[in-house]
Symmetry: C2
Subunit: 192 residues, 2 copies
């Protein structure tokens, strides 16, 4: 994983998200996405099997990164500390282009019922991946579920903060995720 | 709201869920749903504007019930106590037919990527309705979000338990929801 390399794949994602915003997900064709990205249809198909896969690919990578980070946390880490490791691991793979995509993705999702459903499924997928990774560490089921939901909330809140407005380029995503998880941890003390 | 009255609307929902399981959501037509329910297409359209609305209608009712219960909780109730009131209020509108639908809906969702997306969106809608109702009570944002997510988890776990296997008919849904929320409350103490 490591650094984000600008390239065909990323250009296709940016072009697709912009077209989804402008004209909707359903109305956008693979040919249009390739054209907007200045690439050919065959280049599109070297990276993605179809328009839907373009959205799902990022989500699967993210879920895998979160689960790997949780699996690699120290054996004595608490469930929430393991989730923090998952978030840190995922953030290490996200760079400036992911940050720029944030407002574009939000605009596209706001404009499309179909993308809202895919976005909701993405959250469920992230929660399931983290729950499974926690259960594999021996965390009992309801605790694992709850810690995973906190992780999803922290990811969403941290990503929104990180990608909104004008931020200094040296601001790293990991810091936003830590802050969001700390806020949720503090919030969990005020539930009762 | 109150008691569940068997009738055309419920027969249409049961017929639709069964057909979605057997042949998929996309492949099922309004005419087939009406026929399976022993009703006419025009009766279908007196209850639902289309196939999609049939799924969404229940979700909107549920979200409203959860929000109403939270709004009516005593002023000094903690965020989680208010969520418990929301769950109790929603459960009062769910009877034996909702219980029977549980395994059918799970089978239909397991068989269809499209229904998985709608199911995920339903969870997001429930969480949003509860968050909004909590914020209206003056609960600060991250606490409201977290309490709402606990409510969604409790609803899902309680509903799965209630509608699985052979249960005595006098088992009420409210008890399952209370137990699920209590388990999650206990789990939240083991996160750190």
């Amino acid at each position: 994983m490591g650094r984000w390399e600008p390239g065909a794949r990323e250009r296709l994602v940016v072009a697709a998200v912009d077209l989804f915003t402008e004209q909707g997900y359903d109305a956008t064709t693979v040919a249009e996405i390739a054209e907007r990205a200045g690439l050919t249809r065959s280049t599109f198909f070297r990276h993605f099997s179809d328009k839907r896969e373009l959205l799902v690919a990022g989500q699967e990578t993210l879920s895998r990164l979160l689960a790997d980070g949780i699996a690699e946390a120290p054996a004595d880490a608490s469930p929430l500390a393991a989730v923090a490791e998952g978030l840190a691991h995922a953030s290490s793979a996200m760079g400036p282009q992911n940050r720029e995509l944030g407002p574009r993705i939000r605009a596209a999702v706001a404009a499309s019922a179909e993308l809202q459903e895919r976005d909701a499924l993405k959250s469920v997928g992230m929660a399931a991946a983290m729950t499974e990774a926690l259960v594999a560490r021996g965390v009992p089921d309801p605790v694992a579920h709850l810690a995973a939901e906190l992780g999803v909330l922290a990811f969403k809140r941290g990503y929104a903060e990180w990608s909104e407005g004008d931020r200094a380029p040296e601001d790293d995503f990991a810091g936003y995720l830590r802050k969001a998880l700390d806020e949720l941890r503090a919030a969990s003390a005020s539930l009762h």
